[in-house]
């Protein structure tokens, strides 16, 4: 609760500090010259009240689960978020799953083959992955895999005009499966793959590099040599002894990856016309849509707190010494 109040307060103050009246762009040049119309706009959106009253009203409504109405969409922020958050989450889950599934093994390969050709190649590729601008990669992927090869659709969450499944989780692929709508589930998944892979590119590289260095830190430790001396197979040594010891560092990076996904999503969502939280936040900040900015800020804060909590719990699961201490 304290965190929520702090976040809303900072978002509220920062938004007020930005000069500009949302009424001017919302009403257009001619109508905004009419003081009566501007006053009506301010009254409609509660902007005619003193700032402390506006803030306290917001907090009062927040306690009742009311995040206000977006000036941009003219719909309750909660409704907007109920659509935008699952869209980004669906993208984020697949993207992170892919980044972990590919990044960790590649990091292991690079570390075990340190200074050999495959290590050099993986380091170059991961450096390229980190350096490549996401929007450029998104356009390139769209050009190759949609336009040239026609393997993936050209944006959106579903084919044009397709009715989404009734919302249970808001993740279209999951909801369609839960309703037994198999072709719709495939349609949703098909649309999901390319943006998720693009979003994963940076994180695959990041996880690869961190996994590699975490493994290199422990790979020559005495207990690893002892395990080898016992005659354990190499894959057992790497997976059970080396990787496990390196996992706390890797888990920390995966926590960071969550943040990368949320920020990287702004560009990927734009190119792939993905109606997620990134696009919503971008538009809201451009138009000084205060209720929407506050709603997104709260959501991001909750995500960060949750991710940090999960990472802390995972430390204990991975390394019992931490749990005991």
């Amino acid at each position: 609760m304290v965190l929520a109040i702090g976040i809303t307060f900072v978002a509220f103050v920062l938004t007020q500090l930005v000069p500009g009246d949302p009424a001017l762009s919302a009403l257009g040049p001619v109508t905004s010259a009419d003081p009566e119309a501007v006053a009506a706009y301010h009254a409609h959106w509660g902007m005619d009240k003193p700032l402390p009253v506006q803030y306290l009203t917001y907090l009062g409504n927040l306690l009742q689960g009311d995040l206000g109405v977006s000036q941009l969409s003219h719909q309750p922020v909660l409704t907007d978020l109920q659509h935008a958050i699952p869209a980004t989450m669906e993208l984020a889950f697949l993207s992170i799953a892919f980044a972990i599934a590919v990044g960790v093994p590649l990091g292991v390969i690079a570390a075990v083959r340190q200074n050999r050709a495959s290590d050099h190649a993986l380091r170059v590729v991961s450096l390229a992955g980190i350096s490549m601008p996401t929007f450029w990669l998104a356009l390139l992927a769209l050009y190759v895999f949609f336009f040239r090869l026609d393997w993936f659709p050209g944006g959106g969450r579903l084919d044009p005009g397709t009715t989404p499944p009734d919302q249970i989780t808001g993740l279209y692929s999951v909801d369609a499966l839960l309703h037994g709508q198999w072709s719709l589930a495939w349609d949703a998944f098909h649309h999901l793959i390319l943006p998720a892979l693009v979003l994963a590119a940076f994180n695959v590289s990041l996880i690869t590099r961190y996994t590699r260095s975490a493994i290199l830190e422990v790979i020559n430790d005495d207990y690893v040599r002892a395990a080898r001396a016992k005659g354990l197979p190499e894959h057992t040594v790497v997976v059970r002894h080396v990787l496990r010891a390196a996992l706390p560092s890797v888990v920390t990076v995966i926590g960071l990856v969550f943040a990368n996904v949320l920020t990287g999503a702004v560009l990927v969502e734009n190119i792939f016309a993905w109606p997620g939280i990134g696009q919503y936040a971008y538009q809201a900040s451009l138009e000084l849509d205060l209720p929407a900015i506050m709603g997104v800020s709260l959501f991001v804060a909750v995500v960060y707190v949750t991710v940090n909590f999960v990472v802390d719990v995972l430390y204990g699961v991975i390394d019992p010494r931490l749990r005991l201490s």
Binding site: D34, H44, S73, I109
Partner: protein, 534 residues
């Protein structure tokens, strides 16, 4: 080392196998999924969404206009890019000699999608709702009183002569709603409607019009889906479904080449030029009615330099107009004056201002100001017709440097820009004007004492002769006389107004080759009801 390689090889092989499997699965089903995009009977319109609402009485954004135009009928309409008002719900009309009273006779065979007949009561309700909601489109009926003397007659009475009104009523914001349905869902048209009307949530989920399409679904971030209205009274639309989809221009460029029955609305002229010659596409580029210009403040308290008439003249002749046009791409034209070439009263190409550097330098010298310096503001993140204001501002700065005027550029987000701009605080601004309705009266804002003129503190008292001429033009009814008056105003403004019209950018529409009537409208970007197939 031999054993050390064992695990990575296995892992590598597993990764490759997974990747190949994913690719194989996707490739095997991809064509079927791609075919679905081009479903028979579905028109797909790709555009970068600018939409806040689809409640006709509250909306004024381009994307909203496409959807609302499909769902709601207006008294009059335009066809294609013509700005001649044509009958639609009104089968005939009469204008009084003083251009203050407009009487419309309605068709008697029009029904809303629920079967209710459309009468003058619905027009009365719709127009009064627009006025009293005080939303973005309310200025369209500023000073207008609406009455319904009989079931099929509507009278609009303007407090001042308003010959532009016939070109205002085709605006989709003045689409007629089913008053019974809207009232049932919280709508009201009386004074105070801005506080009491609660119909918007209903109209975001349902349509209440008589047009050829009904609202199937609305999401202002992704897509708006319209379905054919089985009760439509007019000619049936060609498509059963229309999907208006939110895509950035770069993605539109790829999609329109792969789809069928598809239209891309936001490609720049340069992007569209790359598609010319493709047999499966139709590419149209022409000059937009948007007008890019530079404004300069006439108030010495804001800037002594900007308000100096010699400096203003110097800027007028220092600007490299052809290079601004070139920046916009094929189809763009230099604006001959502040009225775009699309509307009556525009100046001929021969009246365009030509760059004259010696004259500009002489004017700088005559100003008596050594090393003149001006701050120019521009909306930093705004791009219109594919042209970034930041690029234009840089170009202006380098043009003026050639005659010894130093320009300091200040880019601001649109909202911040508008606040100080509307308050008349910018010494100089890189700006633009898009038409609210296709009539020269919309451009009277640039004459002394007008809305835009006030933003550069150009009051009527500063040029009473021009202000009087503008007043006369505003009240003149005959199109021929109006055209002559507006040309006279335009010529004077090209000599002494604190506005420098630069260019009308190129606009492009790219559509599948089988589509007909996919053209950019002057007010609404696309009339989906008119689009058909060969």
């Amino acid at each position: 080392m031999h054993r050390a390689a064992h695990v990575p090889r296995l892992a590598l092989a597993a990764l490759v196998a997974v990747a190949l499997a994913v690719v194989a699965i996707v490739a095997s089903v991809a064509p079927a999924a791609a075919d679905k995009t081009a479903a028979e009977g579905t028109l797909v319109v790709d555009t970068s969404f600018v939409v806040q609402t689809i409640d006709p009485a509250r909306m004024f954004e381009p994307t909203s206009q496409i959807a609302v135009k499909g769902m709601y009928d207006t008294l009059l309409t335009f066809r294609g890019q013509s700005t001649t008002p044509l009958p639609w719900l009104a089968r005939s009309w009469k204008v009084s000699k003083d251009a203050k009273t407009f009487t419309f006779n309605l068709r008697r065979d029009v029904r809303f999608s629920d079967g209710t007949p459309l009468t003058s009561a619905d027009v009365l309700f719709s127009f009064r709702r627009v006025i009293n909601l005080k939303g973005s489109p309310s200025f369209l009926l500023s000073g207008v009183k609406v009455s319904a003397p009989s079931k099929y007659t509507v009278v609009l009475k303007s407090s001042t002569p308003n010959p532009a009104l016939l070109r205002i009523v085709p605006n989709p914001s003045l689409g007629i709603v089913n008053s019974k349905v809207v009232k049932e869902n919280g709508g009201t048209d009386g004074p105070g409607a801005d506080k009491t009307d609660k119909a918007e949530p209903y109209l975001l989920g349902n349509s209440a019009g008589s047009g050829p399409y009904l609202l199937k679904s609305y999401n202002n971030k992704t897509e708006i889906v319209l379905e054919a209205n089985p009760r439509f009274w007019g000619p049936k639309p060609s498509f059963q479904t229309v999907v208006i989809r939110n895509l950035p221009a770069a993605t539109q460029l790829l999609n329109v080449q792969r789809g069928t029955n598809e239209v891309a609305l936001d490609l720049s002229a340069q992007q569209a030029a790359t598609l010319r010659g493709k047999s499966n596409l139709k590419v149209i580029t022409n000059a937009s009615a948007n007008l890019f210009n530079i404004d300069i403040n006439t108030d010495p308290k804001i800037s002594e330099v900007a308000a100096n008439p010699h400096i203003q003249t110097a800027i007028r002749y220092a600007l490299d107009y052809p290079s601004f046009v070139k920046l916009s791409g094929p189809g763009a034209v230099q604006a001959p004056g502040m009225i775009p070439t699309t509307f009556i009263g525009h100046l001929p190409p021969t009246a365009r201002v030509k760059r004259n550097l010696p004259k500009a330098r002489a004017e700088v010298k005559a100003s008596g100001i050594s090393n003149p310096k001006i701050t120019m503001y521009y909306p930093s993140e705004l791009t219109i017709n594919g042209i970034s204001f930041a690029t234009l501002a840089q170009k202006t700065k380098s043009n003026l440097a050639e005659v010894g005027i130093q320009v300091d550029l200040v880019g601001k987000p649109v909202n911040s820009f508008l606040e100080t701009y509307a308050a008349g605080k910018h010494p100089m601004s890189q700006s633009y004007w898009g038409p609210d309705y296709p009539d020269p009266n919309d451009y009277l804002v640039f004459t002394p004492g007008g809305l835009a003129a006030n933003r550069v503190n150009w009051a009527a008292s500063k040029d009473p002769k021009l202000a009087a001429l503008a007043k006369r033009a505003q009240r003149t009814v005959s199109d021929a006389q109006r055209a002559a008056l507006f040309r006279q105003i335009g010529r004077s403004m090209n000599q002494r107004a604190p506005f420098f019209p630069l260019f009308q950018p190129a606009q492009a529409i790219v559509s599948s080759g089988n589509l007909t009537n996919a053209v950019l409208g002057v007010i609404w970007p696309l009339d989906v009801r008119a689009v058909g197939t060969r």
